[in-house]
């Protein structure tokens, strides 16, 4: 196997405020192979979007970012110096969460689609970039793309705007495509259409993908492997099928229990499963296992930090239970 497209070891992010600091990411490891699609799953507040933003150097100025080792496409990257910012819009592209606010209301779709290509294709004429944008827009399923290029975001429906946002990512022909909650802000029916577009994309492009979502279902549909995050740490990772069918970490199990199984018979007597308790305050993280406070299988050893266990076939998890 050749070297991965992206490797990050021990990624840490913390925010420094006046007199206090909050640790958002604690020792996250991530590897994405060429052409591979990786899902990043967790509750809100798990730090999954922070990983994506840190990758592009898009975190606020008071964020402190560090990693033991990071490399993109064979080149070492220094996260502390935000070197990855130079990959924006050329090697890495991002599909944003909320298509309602991700586009500038004052400029036509065409203008925005042209300007985001400028860094990737510095020498192309505006006319050529416009033509590319129009073609890609048609490709992601926007009808009458030629006329639509001159329209403003408010003239598009939510689903159509999300297609525009996806078109942006495709236009720069990135090596890595990050999708941050690509369907969360959409209606169920439109969500299905957008997933379909992403699916087609996945089959056609050779780019690697990082899908950030709270939904195991979406990740199962789009990804080869999955990284489960909880409160800024990776609790489990491995091939989607393995993690989905044989979750090792209690948190993964709880997360899967919260998903609605679309094929299960509707049973009104059965409440929707929830995980009791809340994510720990990032400014006061517990010493031992981060999930211990909410874990149904907690025992004495959990007051110590669990190691990353290897379970073969690229599978890792951080829990004392299975180690025993």
């Amino acid at each position: 196997m050749t070297a991965a497209l992206l490797t990050i070891e021990n990624l840490n992010v913390s925010y420094r405020g006046r007199g206090h600091s909050a640790h958002i990411l604690d020792g996250v490891d991530l590897e994405i192979g060429h052409g591979q699609s990786v899902g990043l799953v967790g509750e809100s507040g798990s730090g999954k979007s922070t990983v994506a933003f840190a990758l592009l150097g898009l975190l606020a100025d008071n964020a402190e970012v560090s990693a033991d080792h990071a490399a993109f496409d064979g080149r070492t990257q220094d996260f502390a110096k935000r070197e990855t910012a130079s990959l924006r819009g050329t090697d890495i592209a991002m599909i944003f969460q909320d298509p309602m606010t991700a586009l500038n209301p004052m400029f036509s779709i065409g203008t925005q689609l042209v300007d985001i290509q400028r860094r990737r294709f510095p020498k192309e004429s505006r006319k050529a970039l416009w033509a590319r944008a129009q073609a890609v827009l048609a490709d992601v399923g926007v009808q009458d793309a030629a006329a639509r290029m001159h329209r403003y975001p408010h003239e598009f429906s939510g689903g159509m705007r999300q297609r525009v946002v996806i078109a942006m990512a495709l236009l720069v022909e990135p090596k890595l495509l990050i999708a941050d909650e690509p369907t969360t802000a959409l209606d169920a029916t439109i969500e299905a259409q957008v997933v379909e577009v992403l699916h087609r994309l996945r089959q056609r492009t050779s780019a690697s993908m990082l899908v950030v979502s709270h939904s195991m279902g979406l990740i199962a549909e789009l990804c080869d492997s999955v990284v489960v995050m909880y409160a800024g740490t990776v609790v489990e990772s491995g091939k989607v099928a393995d993690v989905l069918h044989r979750p090792r970490h209690p948190y993964t199990r709880a997360l899967l229990a919260c998903e609605i199984d679309p094929f299960a018979a509707f049973d009104p007597s059965q409440d929707l499963a929830t995980i009791p308790g809340t994510v720990p305050d990032p400014s006061r993280r517990p010493q031992g296992c981060i999930f211990a406070g909410r874990c149904p299988a907690r025992h004495d050893r959990c007051s110590e930090k669990p190691p990353q266990q290897q379970a073969g076939d690229g599978r890792t998890y951080a829990c004392w239970l299975e180690a025993a």
Binding site: L56, L58, R88, N104, M106, I116, R119, H154
Partner: protein, 327 residues
């Protein structure tokens, strides 16, 4: 843009503006009734004959109800009659029209100066918020905003005309000599523009910072669009909207401020016309002059309001379709 609904929008804005103008005329006319003593006698002087007083009363309409007087005012206005100077009988309209270009030149040059200086200051401040330049601009703009323009005028006159003798002290310059007129315009313009530079810089800076924190800007950053382009194109256009509305109001305030600049620098203009008329109790001239300023004030507010709608594509769509934007 040419659809019926746009015309309706325009008509309703115009109607509101006209009501404000009409209301202010009624107020102006009502005020003349409060002139202590018999207005006509005050206007004409104590040696006026009773016939002259009666004639003036009939002419101004002081013997009629206020509303009738207001209609008469507008009726005469449409035939270009704004009353007469009580001393020499010259038509007020021609006095006002003669003075207007000087005042308009002053107000426009002050507004342009304020924009030309204020916008770059706002851009620099918003690009590096909290930086040295930002803090300096914040400090200076509060200072300039709160300093009365007539104090600035007197100080400029003292330093640059009396002490340094770089600029002429008085007047508006030789008519026909554009260079001389511009030279005379420099100090009054600076005095009037000073506060507005600070105002525009602060207002635009804060709306720029607000826009820069929105997620569509993050999208552009994620694609490596240059900070300069983000600031000058994608953030500036939405941020300009609230500033445009304030500029409409500002123009009217500048017309008011022009009174001081014109009196201090001894420039002929609408402000000094009104000032002289007040001192000589030349009421028709005061009335006509104030009316024209109110008219311009309402008009510039209207223009600002409409241009705001034309800049924003969402508003534009609403104007064209006559309903809320489809979301």
């Amino acid at each position: 843009m040419r659809s019926a609904s746009f015309q309706i929008h325009l008509a309703s804005k115009l109607a509101t503006a006209l009501l404000a103008v009409a209301g202010s005329v009624v107020l102006l006319l009502a005020l003349t009734r409060f002139i202590p003593g018999d207005p006509a006698t005050v206007i004409l002087g104590s040696r006026a004959t009773p016939e002259a007083v009666a004639a003036l009363n009939a002419r101004i309409g002081l013997d009629k109800p206020l509303i009738e007087q207001a209609f008469a005012f507008f009726g005469r206005l449409f035939s270009g009659d704004l009353g007469e100077d009580v001393f020499n009988g010259r038509p007020v309209l021609s006095l006002v029209l003669g003075a207007l270009p000087n005042t308009a030149a002053l107000a426009i040059s002050a507004m342009l100066t304020a924009i030309v200086l204020g916008v770059p200051l706002a851009l620099v401040s918003a690009r590096w918020p909290g930086g040295k330049i930002d803090r300096l601009v914040a400090f200076l703009s509060v200072g300039f905003i709160s300093t009365p323009s007539f104090v600035v005028s007197v100080f400029l006159l003292m330093v640059f005309s009396v002490t340094l003798r770089w600029f002429p002290v008085l007047g508006a310059g030789e008519s026909g000599d554009l260079g001389d007129q511009l030279w005379h315009l420099v100090l009054p313009t600076a005095a009037l523009a000073a506060g507005w530079v600070g105002y525009i810089a602060r207002l635009l800076r804060s709306s720029l910072l607000e826009v820069l924190s929105e997620s569509h800007i993050r999208t552009l950053r994620a694609y490596g669009v240059s900070e300069a382009k983000i600031l000058m194109k994608y953030a500036l256009k939405p941020a300009v909207l609230p500033t445009v509305a304030v500029l409409g109001m500002g123009f009217g305030e500048l017309l008011g401020g022009a009174v001081f600049a014109e009196v201090i620098f001894n420039r002929p203009g609408l402000g000094s016309l009104i000032y002289d008329a007040i001192r000589t109790r030349n009421y028709p001239v005061v009335q006509g002059g104030v009316f024209v300023i109110v008219l311009l004030y309402v008009l510039t507010n209207l223009i600002a309001d409409l241009s705001q709608s034309l800049i924003d594509p969402r508003e534009r769509a609403r104007l064209v379709s006559g309903r809320g934007a489809v979301t």
